[in-house]
């Protein structure tokens, strides 16, 4: 196991999920956009986490990423810039906010009075799809940019 192989594979899969989301946006398959966008966001957070430690088996990696950021904020700001640290902080929040869509896009959701479930296909509207894919695009950019900096630093050290 090397952390370099781990961040590579998470990032590769994140990129592929975004590509799938973009492809299904064009044909207006909103639920498929939601599913793929949420997974892109989740995996971009895990790509950054895996530079530092083992990722939790969770669809909600924001808290683990936040713990890492808090522990390493100084070195990240110094080496990758304050803006990068802010973008990672944003990803910690985004990843947790969108994590509920993993379940909703799969199983639907109970109505407020818990009398029946709204099917996932009805929950995953165009608005939700466009909102999630926007977050996915910026999450992938954040992970790409951070891992580029991290990899470059690895090469210089090695």
């Amino acid at each position: 196991m090397t952390n370099s192989h781990e961040w590579d594979r998470w990032l590769k899969d994140a990129r592929a999920y975004l590509e799938d989301a973009e492809a299904t946006l064009d044909i207006e398959r909103w639920r498929t956009v939601v599913i793929n966008a949420q997974l892109c966001i989740e995996l971009t957070a895990k790509a950054i986490i895996s530079c530092f430690e083992e990722t939790k088996w969770s669809h909600s990696p924001g808290k683990q990423l936040k713990e890492i950021l808090d522990r390493h904020v100084q070195v990240i700001s110094e080496r990758a810039g304050q803006e990068m640290a802010s973008e990672i902080e944003r990803l910690t929040t985004d990843a947790d906010i969108v994590s509920v869509w993993h379940g909703k896009a799969t199983y639907g959701e109970w109505d407020k009075d818990k009398k029946q479930r709204t099917p996932s296909i009805d929950l995953c509207t165009e608005d939700k799809a466009r909102w999630l894919i926007e977050i996915a695009r910026r999450s992938l950019t954040t992970a790409d940019d951070f891992i580029k900096e991290w990899s470059e630093a690895s090469r210089q050290e090695g």
């Binding site: 196991m1 088996w57 683990q64």
Partner: protein, 166 residues
């Protein structure tokens, strides 16, 4: 086992003992393995009502089974527990490569039910190697993860792998 309100028998609660007994009943099939063990939340003692049962199979290199064989066999022998079952299949050389971060957790958690003598020492050496590079098992939001016992340098490479003869 108890009767549910529908009159059907409730499935038995998976325990280390009951799952071990079910795995041991595989009998002659175990000859094709270096070892079989329980991993995941059952091994750690925090199995929840909807948790999977996670099983490690370390297959002999010349066993000749395809990838679906152990998944189907283990799921069938644990069917009475009425739980999702995850089966992780390795050989000794693949285990020594430590394919990903999660293999460290598997090595730390495994309770071997059947072991021809090679698996437990390899799992221990994997954990020892992790410790030797500065990794420790810690908890992130009550979830066990391997992490460094100090802040990382920017760009630091972490490598855990056993040599062929380790």
């Amino acid at each position: 086992m108890n009767l549910s309100s529908s009159g059907k028998m409730d499935p038995p609660e998976p325990t280390i003992e009951s799952v071990s007994a079910a795995l041991e009943a595989l009998g002659p099939l175990l000859v094709d393995t270096e070892g079989v063990g329980i991993v995941g939340s059952l091994a750690r003692g925090n199995l929840r009502p909807r948790s999977d049962i996670d099983i490690l199979v370390v297959e002999k290199e010349d066993a000749g089974h395809d990838s679906s064989f152990w998944h189907g066999t283990i799921r069938e022998c644990l069917r009475r527990f009425d739980r999702d079952v995850s089966v992780l299949v390795f050989t000794i050389p693949v285990l020594k490569k430590v394919p990903d971060w999660n293999t460290l957790g598997l090595a730390a958690d495994a309770i071997m039910v059947h072991d021809e003598g090679k698996v437990a020492p390899v799992l221990k050496r994997i954990v020892d190697k992790a410790h030797s590079v500065g990794l420790r098992r810690d908890y992130s939001d009550r979830w066990p993860v391997f992490k460094m016992n100090r802040p990382l340098k920017f760009g630091e490479i972490i490598k855990v792998e056993l040599e062929h003869d380790e």
